[in-house]
Homo-oligomer: 357 residues x 2
């Protein structure tokens, strides 16, 4: 490997904060801005690792919460890690599992948040678990992820200010413990560690959160919470220094990705392209297409004339309409291949635009 | 095309009635004994036409009953036929639709059998339909099938002898009308027409059925009813002259196919390999494997060491076990690819054995 592990800026842009970058991992490089689709259970629904290579993905995201339940972290460790288990030999990012755990606690009252972590019951068997900053790191190291994310304490965008302050303080404390757990574990060599900036919609708290995390020191920083407020998202991108990886978690539809890339965010992950595909919403060069619209029932043309994915070079809209109507699994598969191909092209266009500017 | 459309025997076998043959169609040749998987709704569940070519299929079967309901024969005709609709450019056989219609009538009391056809209500909307020998042929011609099967009047294996005689008489009369409809339609040029021999478990009636059909004249003859009685299946194969295509409908598991091929049957179709795949039953060189057996949960080895399908060259049993556990559609897809690859190898082995004998 010529480059050191970590993030490098390759080129900045004169008309926006967008930049080209490169993340170097033990499993190869990722050119940024980059998009990581969700391989929740160690699989992007409907797709094999062959398919991921055909689509041209450079990174996928594994969900620690789901994988720790099924098939379990120990099993994956015994299978020589998630890369080997799912036969994906390119870079992989994992989340901490915190997002799902906090959802269980907040939305379903299936646990409680403690000083040192979160106690919860899982959504499958209802068994009791404890997640702490240390276990979140250890799980991700056992999975063999290239890019790890610390356990954070999320709050809703317009949360009360005392809750917001508590979230920032907890997030800092947990980030400290995460960093310690990371450094203490020899498996962390060559791995990238990302902290999560909290502060909800409060600019000062966003800044405080970043500064406290920066004092601990991380390879990159992620945006915690839902970036429904552009000002907060742009502000947060700006307080992260340019040499650090900027990760916008859980974003988003194509226009959001363009917008956030212009703010300087480098890395994205989202269920949107794959979930929408399964529900028959396809992205095209002419805009969104809902294949269940009856106008497509007899349409001989491909989904998108300019797309070269298996769906578009092979089948008519009429056939895909039919496959969805008879609930044929191939429908969701072809649509997933299409939407991810669209996203890869989107990321190429974003990079091209930064390069030429 | 060098060979005339139709069936040719290439080589007979000294130690059994098995033979090598070739079916020549407008969409290319099929070397027999051959297996046609079911593409019920114009798709082999989970597979694209690319996949069918990768697996090496030489023929697929389309179900007239299902296709006539969804998307409808008119729509497929407007899409230039089923080959073009599903992008399969190799040979295709269709059934008459009679099997499903008689099932509705007998098992669900959703219709009645008349002299000139069957009146029934479909299983989706409950709308009323009429299928006659003529409409069954016209539908298959509209679909663009290469090998058509006439509407027959099936009975259960141990039916009362008067019902059995009635079934044979109806089947003959309907075959006559089918042949007429076929000859009257210019789209039948270059198509192969197969009649169905009834007679249940009565050897004399099997013979009578064949002789009455032979007088009308067909390119091939199929075994009507369930061949649970080997004597009947062997006897029926023998009464069909050697120069005619012998089609064993709805068979079967690998051992059945070997057995029937030894009797001289040339063509097979069955849902077994694909349906079993979806339920986690995989065929291997070491016997059947139920992937949901917990012994496979941590098994690093491939499903079948000697198989070169995408599943076996890529993944461990442990991963496939996991995919089935989390109900991931890729599980059924990979298993389907595997089982059909196994069947293609099975047919190659059967042919090789006949060749060498």
């Amino acid at each position: 490997m010529n480059n050191p592990i970590g993030f490098q800026v390759i080129k900045t842009n004169s008309s926006s904060n967008a930049r080209l970058g490169k993340i170097t991992t033990l499993h190869g490089e990722i050119n940024t801005p980059a998009f990581a689709p969700d391989a929740t259970y160690g699989v992007i629904k409907h797709l094999s690792s062959n398919d991921l290579n055909t689509i041209g993905l450079s990174i996928v995201l594994g969900n620690s919460y789901h994988l720790s339940l099924r098939p379990g972290v120990e099993l994956i460790k015994d299978q020589n890690g998630l890369h080997n288990f799912m036969k994906w030999d390119k870079p992989m990012i994992t989340d901490s599992g915190g997002y799902q755990v906090f959802s269980l606690v907040h939305a379903k009252k299936m646990g409680k948040v403690l000083e040192h972590g979160v106690e919860f019951r899982d959504h499958i068997t209802g068994s009791k678990h404890l997640i702490t900053p240390t276990t979140a790191i250890q799980n991700q190291l056992a999975l063999g992820s290239d890019i790890l994310v610390v356990l954070d304490y999320p709050v809703f965008p317009n949360t009360r200010s005392e809750d917001n302050e508590y979230s920032v303080a907890r997030t800092t404390q947990w980030a400290k413990e995460s960093k310690q757990a990371f450094l203490n574990d020899p498996r962390s060599k060559g791995k990238i560690l990302i902290a999560v900036i909290q502060g909800a919609n409060d600019l000062d708290l966003r800044k405080r959160s970043y500064e406290e995390l920066a004092e601990i020191g991380f390879d990159g920083y992620a945006f915690g919470g839902h970036p429904e407020n552009d000002k907060i998202a742009a502000y947060t991108a700006n307080i992260i220094p340019d040499e650090k990886l900027k990760y916008m978690m859980g974003a988003g539809p194509p226009d959001d990705i363009k917008k956030f890339a212009n703010m300087g965010w480098d890395l994205f992950d989202c269920v949107v392209p794959t979930r929408n595909a399964r529900h028959g919403l396809l992205y095209t060069s002419q805009g969104n297409l809902r294949i269940d619209n009856s106008q497509f029932q007899t349409d001989h043309t491909p989904i998108d004339e300019v797309c070269d994915c298996e769906l578009c070079i092979t089948y008519s809209r009429s056939y895909l309409y039919h496959l969805f109507k008879v609930k044929e699994p191939l429908a969701a598969r072809l649509a997933t291949i299409h939407n991810l191909t669209f996203y890869m092209k989107l990321m190429e266009e974003i990079k091209e635009k930064i390069k030429l500017d």
